[in-house]
């Protein structure tokens, strides 16, 4: 039996089988970004030799669009060499390499390179949204800024289970520093931060912004300590986990020690000044 190179041909038979419809429907859905759980469920049990690779192609593409590297790696293993869908394997490996290591593998077949170029969005939608957020801030459109800022933070936070929270907090710290330079009171944004990142990570983001800002503005140290306290009082977050909280506690102790030294120096100087005058 010849392999199936175009699954849509299955529907041109006088009486297409239900599993043929399910395969084509599932393929349509995943490549168009639509949900069709019934079709996916029906093809899950499909094990005809000539259709199994197409089934796994559907699941590989689905995982690819979901950004689920583990599921792509797993599904691509079932694309049996020699079957038509297996010719796409290098494209999936390229995506995995870029997704996991930031480097795309060179695709030496023009058909694959063209397909990857077609699929790949030149600028990530979140980059565009972050640019719009900054523009709204610079133009003083505060309600729009707040709406966009919260959405961007949350999207970054959720984009990847491991790197997402760190990236969101880095972006949050950057934006909070901008807000401070524009004369805004950062605590006013705490509710927004908590809504986007959860209590611990929202407070942590504020604390880190203060830690960064106090370098040039020492009077912010009191507010830095309060933000660290709020983070430590919250339940664990994905960024502010137990280990991170321990570190923030150590940093707080360092600030407390510095504060005590500064107070002692202040007490010591006063009599000297009295003597001079």
């Amino acid at each position: 039996m010849s392999p199936i190179v175009d699954p849509y041909i299955l529907l041109e038979q006088p009486k297409p089988l239900p599993e043929h419809w399910a395969l084509v429907d599932a393929f349509d859905a995943v490549t168009n970004g639509m949900d069709n759980p019934e079709a996916l469920e029906r093809i899950r049990v499909l094990d005809h030799t000539e259709l199994a690779s197409w089934k796994w192609l559907v699941f590989t593409i689905k995982a690819l669009y979901e950004g689920n590297a583990e599921a792509v790696e797993l599904a691509v293993q079932y694309l049996e060499d020699g079957t038509p869908p297996a010719v796409l394997k290098p494209l999936f490996f390229t995506w995995l390499s870029e997704h996991l290591h930031g480097k795309a593998v060179f695709l030496n077949q023009p058909e694959l390179a063209d397909l990857y170029t077609t699929l790949r969005i030149h600028q990530h939608p979140l980059v565009s949204r972050a640019e719009q957020t900054e523009e709204a801030l610079q133009q003083g459109l505060i309600p729009l800024f707040e709406h966009q800022f919260e959405k961007t933070l949350h999207a970054l936070y959720s984009i990847h289970p491991n790197e997402g929270p760190g990236l969101a907090i880095r972006y949050g710290v950057h934006t909070l520093c901008m807000l401070h330079e524009m004369g805004c009171r950062l605590e006013d944004f705490l509710t927004l931060l908590v809504q986007a990142l959860g209590e611990a990570d929202g407070c942590c983001c504020l604390a880190l912004a203060f830690i960064k800002l106090q370098e040039a503005h020492p009077p912010l140290q009191d507010r830095t300590l309060k933000a660290i306290d709020a983070c430590l009082a919250a339940k664990e977050g994905r960024f502010a986990n137990a280990d991170m909280k321990k570190t923030l506690g150590i940093i707080k102790t360092g600030f407390d020690a510095l504060d005590r030294i500064q107070r002692k120096q202040k007490v010591y100087r006063e009599p000297v000044q009295m003597e001079l005058f």
Binding site: A104, S128, V173, H174, F239
Partner: protein, 74 residues
């Protein structure tokens, strides 16, 4: 207090290397769009089934001189 000093002291006082690395990254600043684009994974757009199938047809026909171009059913 300088951030680098804070992190250095925290590590000396028992903070984990992993948490210090994460803090250093979070505090390093961010350029929008350049740094953000670099930090984000590749984004894909939905193109429908045809580009996928066309690529398979072209590549499979190249790799199979005995056939396998278009209507390979049966």
């Amino acid at each position: 207090m300088e951030v680098s000093h804070i992190l250095h002291k925290a590590q000396a006082d028992g903070a984990s290397t992993e948490s210090i690395t994460q803090l250093r990254e979070a505090l390093q600043g961010l350029d929008v769009p350049a740094d953000l684009a670099e930090a984000l994974p590749p984004a894909l757009q939905f193109v429908g089934p045809r580009p996928w199938i066309n690529a398979i047809k072209a590549l499979y026909s190249k790799g199979n001189t005995q056939g396998g171009t278009t209507d390979e059913r049966n």
